[in-house]
């Protein structure tokens, strides 16, 4: 039952992606609360790590399944290179100042593996995933607008004292952060371990009456790597995001976090999918989406509602470029990397 150490080496690229996700995206859910000193970083990191792990383990299966359908990677070295190329392309793009997402890079990398292994890419799944890139910020914007109107409606009728309202906002920021972290874990865990799931690198663990499958072990490991990222590196990013969002009011930031959490959860919830199916309505695809772009979408929605003319078209342009460049770069790196692994290191990648 011993695990081959080589398995852990090959998993390292996915776990690195998890670490990077924890380090960067935790700021989207807790950056404002920490940046405005409404909650200490330590408290935020503990809540965030626990919620991310819970989200990954209990609600992360749906999005990982979708990625598995896009490309069922059958060998561990192949999965390693796919995750590595996604991570590397995000690293290059981020260095170049483009706000790209792991969710988009991993798609390019998987298609790169499909091309290399000469396996067909399911265009229906691909189109479903591509549609979410537009749907995610759009939905976040619409939800943010609805929340703004709801808050206006409530505050006009309830006449809550400004100072009490401040206390409510603080608690709401913590609760929204926790929910956001859960949604982040549920939605983005697929980016971390999704490509490894079809490979099934671990034997099933038997704990008395409980069996923990390879997929469940991967989700747990991925969740832990995200948690590690939160604890080791998110402080700096949270401070930066907090100060960048400083120009936003606490209410706007809170609405952005809530909208982000709702959207990420919508794209990860099997329960919602079943509910919509039962009503005969079109379902929302279970696909990993970009946490940062959801936040940006929400902020743009609020800006449009308030008639703010200063929508940053440069940021929007960069997001659009990222949609094309991140998967393209990941595709190329993955294709070349797989070639090297197969022909130079003589590893089975398909």
């Amino acid at each position: 039952m011993a695990i081959d150490p080589l398995v852990l080496v090959f998993l390292s690229s996915g776990l690195f992606l998890g670490w990077a996700l924890g380090a960067n995206d935790a700021a989207n859910v807790f950056g404002t609360a920490v940046g405005t000193k409404m909650v200490s970083w330590r408290t935020a990191a503990i809540i965030c790590s626990i919620c991310v792990l819970l989200g990954a383990v209990f609600s992360g299966a749906g999005t990982t399944e979708t990625l598995g359908k896009l490309g069922a990677i059958s060998a561990l070295p192949g999965a390693f290179m796919t995750a590595l190329s996604a991570g590397f392309s995000v690293f290059i793009m981020t260095k170049g100042g483009l706000p790209v997402s792991t969710s988009q890079a991993i798609v390019g990398a998987i298609i790169g593996w499909n091309f290399f292994s000469q396996k067909p890419t399911d265009t229906t799944i691909l189109l479903k995933i591509l549609s979410t890139w537009i749907l995610c910020p759009l939905l976040a914007g619409i939800i943010a607008v609805l929340i703004v109107q709801l808050i206006k409606f409530i505050s006009r009728r309830m006449a809550i004292h400004m100072i009490t309202l401040d206390a409510i906002k603080r608690i709401a920021l913590i609760v929204a952060g926790g929910l956001g972290a859960y949604a982040l874990g549920a939605n983005n865990i697929a980016n971390v371990v999704g490509v490894f799931i079809p490979v099934q690198p671990f034997p099933t663990l038997e704990l008395g009456n409980f069996n923990i499958s390879s997929a469940q072990q991967l989700l747990l490991l991925g969740g832990l790597s995200i948690g590690l990222g939160v604890f080791t590196y998110s402080r700096k990013v949270m401070d930066t995001v907090g100060s960048q969002l400083g120009s936003l009011s606490a209410t706007t930031a809170l609405i952005a976090v809530i909208s982000h959490s709702i959207v990420l959860f919508m794209f990860a919830s099997r329960g919602l999918e079943t509910f919509l199916l039962n009503l005969g309505l079109p379902t929302i695809p279970l696909v990993p989406v970009s946490s940062s772009q959801a936040v940006v979408g929400a902020i743009i929605g609020i800006s449009i509602l308030r008639g703010v003319a200063s929508i940053n078209w440069a940021v929007l342009g960069k997001i659009l470029i990222g949609w094309v460049l991140a998967p393209a770069v990941a595709f190329i790196i993955c294709f070349i990397g797989l070639f090297f692994l197969q022909n130079v290191f003589a590893l089975r990648v398909v």
Binding site: K37, M38, R156, H161, M162, I163, T164, D166, I171, A250
Partner: protein, 218 residues
């Protein structure tokens, strides 16, 4: 849970302090009117001194509240969005207390001799000024709960201030058309200006209130 309860306890304390500050403003304005009325009726009397001392006490208490509010907002990192606005509002409203105290102080030190025919003018002016301060105190309290309702209070403050200006102009004309000595005329004008400046300042605070309310609603 303990954290939440502690947070709500702190905010409740702060809320009470902010409300008390503006209630004291309304209280001070009522006593200010009583003091001026009393002076116009009896000159420097024991009753006037009592009223004057009461206004001084209220001003001191309001100062303490102002410091405590400031300390609480900064040390507890409360209302980060509106911290500057709230402190700005309290600081400028605090000046209204000072102006009322300064005016009563001048009456008690300089004891101006006010001719019987000028008394109604002073009384009307004082009433109008106190109305403006009263509306300011209520408007400021409303700002914290229903900022969309502030505009009607501000409109009233502006109206009272304009009326106070008209009354002070008429009173000055009346003073300078009388046969009093110029020194006495200048002395009486100084008191008109002091009373009127309270309404002017209330209007300045109201202008701030308008901006803060718009910011809160956006």
């Amino acid at each position: 849970m303990a954290l939440n309860l502690r947070l709500f306890q702190k905010t409740s304390d702060l809320e009470n302090k902010v409300d008390s500050f503006f209630i004291k403003l309304a209280e001070a304005s009522v006593i200010y009117r009583l003091a001026i009325r009393n002076y116009l009726k009896e000159g420097l009397s024991e009753e006037y001194t009592t009223h004057f001392e009461k206004v001084c006490d209220i001003e001191t208490n309001a100062d303490t509240l102002r410091s405590e509010i400031k300390l609480a907002i900064y040390s507890e990192m409360l209302i980060p969005d509106s911290r500057g606005d709230v402190l700005g509002l309290i600081e400028t409203a605090d000046e209204v207390f000072s102006l009322m105290k300064k005016s009563l102080w001048a009456f008690s030190i300089e004891a101006p001799v006010i001719d019987e025919e000028l008394v109604p003018g002073y009384r009307k002016l004082t009433n109008m000024v106190v109305k403006a301060v009263d509306e300011l105190a209520t408007g400021a309290q409303v700002f914290f709960q229903s900022p969309h309702l502030v505009s009607s209070y501000v409109a009233k403050i502006n109206l009272y201030e304009k009326e106070a200006d008209k009354l002070s102009t008429n009173l000055k004309k009346q003073i300078f058309s009388s046969k009093m000595e110029l020194a006495l005329k200048l002395h009486l004008r100084e008191f008109v200006d002091q009373i009127d400046s309270i309404a002017d300042h209330a209007e300045d605070v109201a202008d701030r209130l308008t901006i803060y309310a718009i910011k809160r609603q956006s």
